[in-house]
């Protein structure tokens, strides 16, 4: 009797981890994305024919994101989950990868052409996850997401394909616009200096040199020599501006600015760049295209 009770309880607890409450509108696909950028891409593909939720809000550092009790509900009730992958979401990515064996979970950055990813030289599985800064690479990710959605929701496949085409056209012109804008900056001034190493893809795609004070990990702290080297570099090249990021502390960059002032060179802070998260909702920067435009305008205004 007692044994049977214990076994019963164990079966309940360990047994069915994925039973979902079917209270929501079951005709619509329920899609969950991790970052705002991914959520934006999916929303553009599905328009109003599915429900899209992003877990990470404005100004959130995805490396350090902690899920809430509500996020768990969203993940378990989702029909399809999209995340960036390549360790952008840290440990959460590992959990999502495993969840992929019981429901559709797609790491879009891991599905694009691996030859286009930036790799840390010595290590095999260490790619730079910040792919959305190269608009043309992001287009590839959007295409991956769209393909997956068409497969999961055949009824709406034609609609999704059509929306994707429209969105891709917008991204095409965005890509050309960014190229043109960055070209306005004189070649000698085309250096983007930020706190942490998030703009590698941007630099590669739009021919602007990128210098970060910190490595990719927020724990790899900048050394005194890093600051000194960067100060020398700025004063030698007479770089006008350095940039802050909305999701990273500005202490590091302030140290560089102060160092330049001590050497008698006035470098300004060019403004805030959106790096790992988008701006507040219902502002232009709260959508992917507006965020890229805002970044590019900030960079061009400060450096040209």
């Amino acid at each position: 009797m007692g044994n049977r009770l214990i076994i019963g309880v164990l079966v309940i607890i360990f047994g069915c981890g994925t039973d979902q409450e079917k209270v929501r509108d079951s005709s619509k696909l329920n899609i969950v994305a991790t970052t705002g950028m991914i959520g934006d891409a999916i929303a553009n593909i599905v328009q109003d024919s599915a429900v899209v939720t992003s877990l990470m809000g404005p100004g959130v550092d995805p490396h350090l994101y902690k899920a809430t009790q509500g996020d768990l509900q969203k993940l378990t009730s989702a029909d399809v989950i999209f995340y960036n992958g390549l360790y952008l979401e840290g440990k959460m990515g590992e959990v999502l990868e495993k969840l992929g064996r019981v429901k559709p979970v797609i790491a879009i950055a891991e599905k694009v052409d691996a030859n286009r990813l930036r790799k840390a030289e010595e290590y095999n599985d260490s790619y730079d996850p910040h792919i959305w800064f190269d608009v043309s690479l992001w287009q590839e990710a959007v295409q991956v997401a769209s393909g997956e959605l068409q497969k999961r929701d055949p009824d709406n496949a034609a609609f999704y394909a059509q929306n994707t085409q429209g969105f891709q056209a917008q991204l095409d012109s965005l890509h050309q616009w960014v190229k043109k804008e960055i070209n306005v900056i004189p070649k000698s001034q085309r250096v983007l200096i930020t706190a942490h190493d998030a703009f590698g893809y941007f630099g590669h795609a739009y021919d602007i040199e990128v210098k970060g004070l910190q490595g990719i990990s927020t724990l790899s702290e900048y050394g005194l020599r890093d600051v000194a080297n960067l100060v020398n570099y700025i004063t030698d090249r007479k770089i006008k501006s350095v940039f802050l990021e909305t999701s990273v502390s500005k202490k590091a960059i302030n140290a560089v600015v102060q160092g330049c002032i001590d050497k008698g060179f006035e470098v300004s802070i060019g403004g805030n760049l959106y790096s790992d998260a988008m701006g507040p909702q219902n502002t232009p920067e709260g959508a992917y295209i507006g965020m890229v435009e805002s970044n590019v305008r900030t960079i061009v205004d400060a450096l040209k």
Partner: protein, 290 residues
């Protein structure tokens, strides 16, 4: 369903940590959990540099070995250098953490590698972090297996070594006189603490483990002077913290670990107020068994 799994995971970790925490508090080594949470950094980095992978199992291995090394160093400085345990803990973990930071800057600056990213788990993921066999059978939340396994190991350790642990904690001189090695039992206890903390970091996150290692035993310590009662009380407190903490987090849609750690503090405060404003009650509870 999810609530039950999370509360169960929280309770299992809380019970394991609470039982070991009782000994740590009595030996004035409560901060050893916090120390290990920082000191594992070089272990992670070295494990990555050797293997080139950020897989959980490899990270756990590196962290576990450094965890045991940490407790060994703490005891070594304490015994050989006659340093107080708190100073010894402070020196050891800051030094190891610093080595980790230097190693990252020197060798792995281009890789996102830190405890938060590759080691610390999050209790909210318990229901979706499933153990699935190669053939595709779903065996339920992976963390529940790990947490139950660790709890069983620790229970066996405490039951078998109860007398030895008791004597080496309260009366090391007497223990030595009757032939019980205080050093051996110290290292066994610390080994158990490293295994528990590192496995629990991976399952439910660091803050929660540090809180559960100290708060429930400290609360129980206020209420009783009997070791067995203290262990039973911290077990009950651990379960209570897990349940109330979960619903606190649900009410505010906040992080679950935060909710549980908050409730751990609330229970401690309640016990504190209770024992200081009603000393007579306290005495009666304490003298019940003497």
């Amino acid at each position: 369903m999810e609530a039950l799994q999370i509360i169960l995971a929280g309770s299992l970790v809380a019970i394991t940590c609470g039982l070991l925490g009782c000994y740590l508090i009595l030996r004035k080594m409560a901060m050893v959990g916090d120390a290990i949470s920082h000191a594992v950094l070089p272990g992670i980095v070295i494990a990555f540099l050797i293997s080139g992978s950020r897989d959980s199992v490899i990270m756990l291995l590196g962290a576990g070995l450094i965890g045991i090394f940490t407790t060994f160093l703490i005891e070594f400085f304490h015994k050989r250098g006659r340093l107080q345990t708190d100073a010894s803990i402070g020196v050891t973990f800051t030094w190891l953490f610093a080595i980790g930071v230097i190693l990252i800057s020197a060798y792995a600056g281009k890789v996102d590698l830190d405890q938060d990213c590759v080691l610390y788990g999050e209790i909210a993921y318990v229901p979706i972090d499933l153990w699935i066999t190669k053939s595709g059978t779903i065996l339920g939340p992976r963390v529940l297996y790990i947490a139950s396994g660790v709890l069983v190991i620790i229970l066996v350790f405490i039951v078998l070594g109860y007398k030895e642990l008791f004597l080496t904690t309260f009366d090391p001189a007497y223990a030595a006189a009757i032939g019980i090695s205080t050093t051996l039992w110290h290292y066994l206890l610390m080994g158990a603490v490293s295994i528990t903390t590192v496995a629990s970091f991976e399952s439910v996150g660091a803050i929660l483990v540090v809180a559960l290692l100290i708060a429930p035993p400290a609360t129980a310590y206020l209420l009783t002077e009997d070791l067995k009662k203290m262990m039973i009380l911290s077990t009950l407190l651990g379960v209570l913290i897990s349940i109330t903490g979960y619903y606190l987090a649900a009410a505010f849609d906040g992080p679950i670990a935060g909710g549980m750690a908050t409730m751990a503090g609330v229970f401690f405060a309640l016990a504190f107020v209770f024992t200081t404003t009603a000393p007579r009650l306290k005495r009666s509870i304490k003298t019940e068994k003497g």
